[in-house]
Point group: C2
């Protein structure tokens, strides 16, 4: 049974293990600095499908299937699927899992969805709601761009603060059975809106939320950045992660060498992604590719995964509403 620690953090007392993980990405992501850490790199942006929406669904399903298989399980062994994405009405996730015949809980946390799924899923396994579940998230550049910004064929110019929506998906299997990685703490985030209204500067909109959640997490667990091998936000990218460092510096806290951001890690600066990567799939694939592999290998033992999301819609931005950020965090421990 979970215990509340401090103001915000939930300490999982029943061991919740991250049993397996999988990341599936597109060609551009596969050519970046994290190449070799993904389970599948598809050179076909359509993933064999007719539409971008089905392509995203196919990619997310591939991540789920791979993660489930790596746990030595079949889809039918899952008690629950938790998933979300950026598409209107989260259709990427529905289409991905519609044929699974597994209870499905749809989440919406924008780019924080992988962390939200891990957080909700960990609480479920801790509380006995599920013994075995899968949490997944995805985004697809071609499906997202035309929905949020411009049709791809229009060739719209991007601002320097803009981020590149990753074509990527990640999935994890959480279980009560011991494995090499344990989820020990969960901190659900609140929305923080400092009235950023520029949809091409998501990093600035999300950094204050990441600061809020991480501050609570450190205070509640009586830890400091240096206690972790890796503190990973996703995906503030270059602009937002710089701001986050600044916000902590004002408190006299140096995030140090262990801090990095999934939106910075996924692409090389030469890949023309401006401030860096974004999209639910960005942090999902960096976590489920590189980070969890290194935890399994023992290279990382104590990790904070803090997914960040910008809660806006094209309609709300056109109406001049501020873009609220949110950040959900989980603490992972190598066993």
């Amino acid at each position: 049974m979970a215990k509340r620690l401090g103001r915000r953090t939930i300490s999982l007392d029943r061991p919740v293990y991250l049993s397996s993980h999988a990341a599936v990405v597109g060609q551009k992501e596969g050519e970046g600095p994290l190449q070799g850490t993904f389970d599948t790199v598809s050179n076909d942006t359509h993933f064999g499908e007719k539409t971008w929406e089905l392509a995203e669904a196919s990619m997310q399903r591939m991540a789920i299937d791979t993660a489930v298989r790596k746990s030595g399980l079949q889809i039918s062994d899952l008690d629950l699927l938790l998933a979300g994405d950026l598409l209107n009405q989260c259709i990427g996730s529905s289409l991905a899992s519609v044929t699974t015949n597994i209870p499905f809980v749809g989440l919406y946390g924008a780019c924080s969805t992988m962390a939200e799924g891990l957080a909700v899923g960990s609480c479920f396994v801790d509380g006995g709601t599920a013994q075995t579940l899968c949490a997944a998230a995805s985004s697809h550049y071609c499906a997202a761009e035309r929905q949020y910004r411009f049709p791809l064929a229009y060739g719209g110019q991007r601002t320097p603060t803009a981020q590149w929506t990753a074509t990527a998906a990640g999935a994890v299997v959480l279980r009560t059975q011991p494995s090499h990685i344990r989820v020990t703490h969960v901190t659900f985030g609140q929305m923080v809106d400092l009235d950023v209204t520029d949809a091409n500067n998501m990093g600035a909109a999300m950094a204050p939320a990441a600061y809020d959640t991480l501050s609570h997490l450190f205070a509640d667990t009586h830890t400091k950045p240096a206690d972790y091998d890796r503190i990973l936000t996703g995906d503030l990218a270059r602009v937002g992660s710089g701001l986050l460092r600044e916000l902590f510096q004002r408190d006299g806290i140096d995030l140090g060498q262990s801090y990095d951001d999934c939106g910075v890690l996924l692409y090389d600066t030469e890949q023309d992604v401006h401030a860096g990567g974004s999209g639910c799939g960005c942090s999902a694939a960096v976590l489920c590719g590189d980070i969890l592999r290194r935890m399994e290998q023992g290279a990382l033992r104590h990790v904070i995964f803090a997914g960040t999301g910008a809660l806006m819609s094209p309609t709300s931005v056109q109406q001049g509403q501020g873009i609220a950020g949110i950040c959900h965090a989980v603490v992972l421990e190598g066993v």
Copy 2:
């Protein structure tokens, strides 16, 4: 700690109480057969706001504030807010709670969202993730229609099987402290897609999912329809609820007098809503208005609330994808 019962159902062993509830609706809903059961009826469809999206947010926030106040609490006493709606990127719920400073978990379950929130929230309270939380859902006719179908000014014709998106919101507070209503069981639903592609016949798309979830719930708990004072789906409306009765009749099971549907209950047939009501707010307001009041008064003691949703987007429908239905159910017991 929750226990799994049978194949799908979760039995909550730590008492989870529904401490208070509130329903806020628009004028049309306030003039229907359930008038007098809502906390607030607004004759201003804009709820004092400039846009339909902000109107929906204002209405959802009003439901949350009212429910929290009726529990004798303040917003700051909540450990968690769970909410969702129909708008792209669930912006109605983000805008509703952005100033609460409370951890926020965004859900997407289309019209099943109120049930999804109750189900996830109950598991969280049972498992110790939260002591006190609020789950909310909303929909607004004017915001939804232009997003899903046509601009209102276009005056598009509706088919007889079409449903009317309710302008309505509901919120409940769940706690560990005893009250008059307990949540005893939760059954998360799977997606069921029988290839209905008509976005004006959601009832037909959702009925098979309701049948699937309720069948599992009856089997897992060894109960039958006659064991409940009220079995409430929401919102299959006239077409879908008729189909649900038919599906159970094939198994020799009569849903009987205790079965009804929120989409049927919310409006009079004279209100020109064709097959009935729909939208996250429809089942939310019927539950949080009429049903929970009657449970508190002791008139209903054993209730199944089975929220149904159609997982589609205008894009997926235009692309010819089938509309998957989903149904999450909770069992409520008068104490």
